[in-house]
Symmetry: C2
């Protein structure tokens, strides 16, 4: 077994990652990954941590002191966002129109929350007026939603829901795993109290680490919990003491090299400029959509609420969707995504996230699809 | 801020990591980290996953089907090991003689377990006879302990406790974060049901991923839970479906590049041979200890139960322990560890883990300590 090992890693081909993440990784980020490992309490590493916090504040557009990467993938960011703020019996409203909203519900229920869910047809957005009415009649500790629903390609109206939540005592919790870096995400302006994201989408950093940020109001609620956070690993009351303050208290050994990589990928995004990055995602999204439509394909989502970085394409009648994906991977070294959950077999998901969102990649996938279909 | 970024990562010096982890990383593992990212459902990546499972079975010395890396650091392995098997009110016995035993207690209590703890003086091992008596009088769902107590440098008698637990219905849960790869760990022979480790100790892979393995008996208990696992991110009932079976079900996006790195570091350990690696740790541990004693220093732990890879050294009277560590880091680019918890100020912790455990590194730290003291 041992001898076949080197061949395995040597055999990894560069695949054009046009699925729902991971996305393409810039050379500078691979280089950052392999910078010499430092200790997690090393004074120089602490400088890098401090810089990462500032970078996350910038990317999240927030003045929150707490803006840090959690030591797990985007889903660990989700778990963090719920487990630190829910106590048994807490009322939570979750707005659902896809797999990732369903997950929020599952996570909250496992933690003993009383979940009230508003469900919308997959492929359509959350409806602001209905939520407004709901919030007038009920009080919730948390109102949670997904910004970019990766399972359907729908952009949800986070800013408008944020306006509604501002008038209540609720904490506003938002999943920006797929949106961050590819479209506007404005934590302070939109009144978001708890936000999580991933790195392997529009930040173009390999998966394994989860940016989160928490408002001062939410931190206060955290510190006033009646029960201990029922998750030692993700307990922010302890993790804050590692990321803040004069004397950094060891909690767990941070994923040093992943933090280097995140640092570099945030640098790349900020160096391009957030607004330039958002505009780039819009631009090549449009090029992709016209190309797909020229091939006779149909988009699953209405243009009014279509995500730029996650393009759900209807699988034409009579086409074996899996064999198309398999040929793309084998003959063209391109990965695109299948439908998730109830969308399986119905759509392909073509990602244009971060470094993937370049004109040559749009050309390459359109060319390959034309050949295959 | 952006422009200072490149300088920050370029400014990372190679530090000789002789603390309690992370340890030195082999060039081949850095190289593996920066291999092109594949999708988490890519057929070639699934081959790598399958190989990693076989490698983990070998390193853990187990026939358990479930031997996988969890997507977080060693502490996520700890959380996984408790949260999947504890339901509220479950009786759990925890054997404690250091910080990491205390943590197990904290984790189990947060999950609603009724914890019975046997505490031993820090710097001494768990006493087998007392545990035998305890197990004769009580029934526990889980008996938990730490193999290599990183806070004190003590090796606990896991094999002997395993013999006792074999005669009961309890699951035997062991922390091998610091021991795996540096001394014998024999899951099947010792009757361990639930085991977790980290990568940044004797496996010499950067931190960020946590090998775990679970016996068939424990998997059955997992599948017969009355309540859902109260942690979506670490729920093994779902994660198994991503790591096993014909059709791999997406749960969360795996930390692809960290899995490459783990794959390579396991290859390195198995290529050297487990017994050779254990012998190397013993050999240079002895060289280190005689060198330290020649300098007039005293070991904190009795030779009978001293760990080879984590050497707790008593700080001599009148010596400012922090300034010694600070000079080692600044003038010699060597990191050693401080005392943890109640051991703070009383000991230094010198790690000889994995790639760190080489004769030239022992010489280097002894030379530097001689100069400073």
């Amino acid at each position: 077994m041992q001898t076949s090992n080197e061949q395995l890693l040597n055999g990894v081909e560069e695949v054009l990652l046009m699925g729902p993440g991971p996305s393409m990784v810039h050379e500078s980020v691979y280089k950052a990954l392999s910078v010499s490992t430092l200790g997690h309490l090393d004074p120089y590493f602490i400088q890098i941590m401090d810089m990462v916090k500032v970078q996350l504040q910038q990317v999240f557009q927030t003045g929150n002191r707490l803006a840090i990467p959690m030591s797990g993938t985007g889903s660990a960011g989700m778990e963090t966002s719920f487990v630190n703020f829910i106590e048994p019996g807490d009322p939570v409203l979750i707005l659902i129109n896809g797999v990732f909203g369903m997950r929020q519900k599952d996570v909250a229920e496992r933690l003993g929350a009383r979940v009230d869910a508003m469900e919308y047809e997959w492929g359509t957005p959350v409806l602001v007026d209905e939520v407004a009415e709901k919030l007038q009649r009920n009080n919730y500790k948390i109102v949670a939603m997904v910004h970019a629903e990766t399972s359907t390609g729908v952009a949800n109206p986070v800013e408008a829901i944020g306006e509604l939540v501002k008038g209540t005592d609720s904490l506003f919790l938002v999943d920006t795993v797929t949106s961050l870096g590819g479209m506007e995400v404005a934590v302070d302006k939109w009144g978001i109290d708890i936000i999580y994201s991933g790195t392997q989408k529009c930040l173009s950093c390999p998966p394994g680490i989860a940016p989160v940020s928490v408002s001062e109001r939410a931190v206060e609620i955290l510190h006033n919990r009646e029960t201990k956070v029922p998750n030692w690993y993700l307990d922010l009351t302890m993790i804050i003491n590692y990321w803040e303050g004069e004397k950094r208290a060891y909690h767990h050994t941070a994923p040093i090299n992943m933090i280097y990589a995140l640092h570099q990928s945030l640098f790349n995004v900020l160096d391009e400029g957030l607004e330039n990055a958002w505009a780039r995602h819009q631009e090549y999204h449009k090029v992709l959509v016209s190309g797909l439509e020229e091939l006779g394909l149909t988009m699953f989502v209405d243009p009014d609420y279509r995500l730029p970085m996650l393009n759900a394409v209807v699988v034409p009648d009579g086409v074996d969707e899996a064999s198309v994906r398999s040929r793309l991977r084998k003959d063209y070294r391109i990965e695109i995504g299948a439908g998730l959950g109830p969308m399986a077999g119905k759509v392909w998901r073509i990602g244009l996230m971060g470094e993937t969102c370049r004109p040559e990649n749009v050309d390459r996938v359109l060319f390959a699809l034309k050949e295959i279909l």
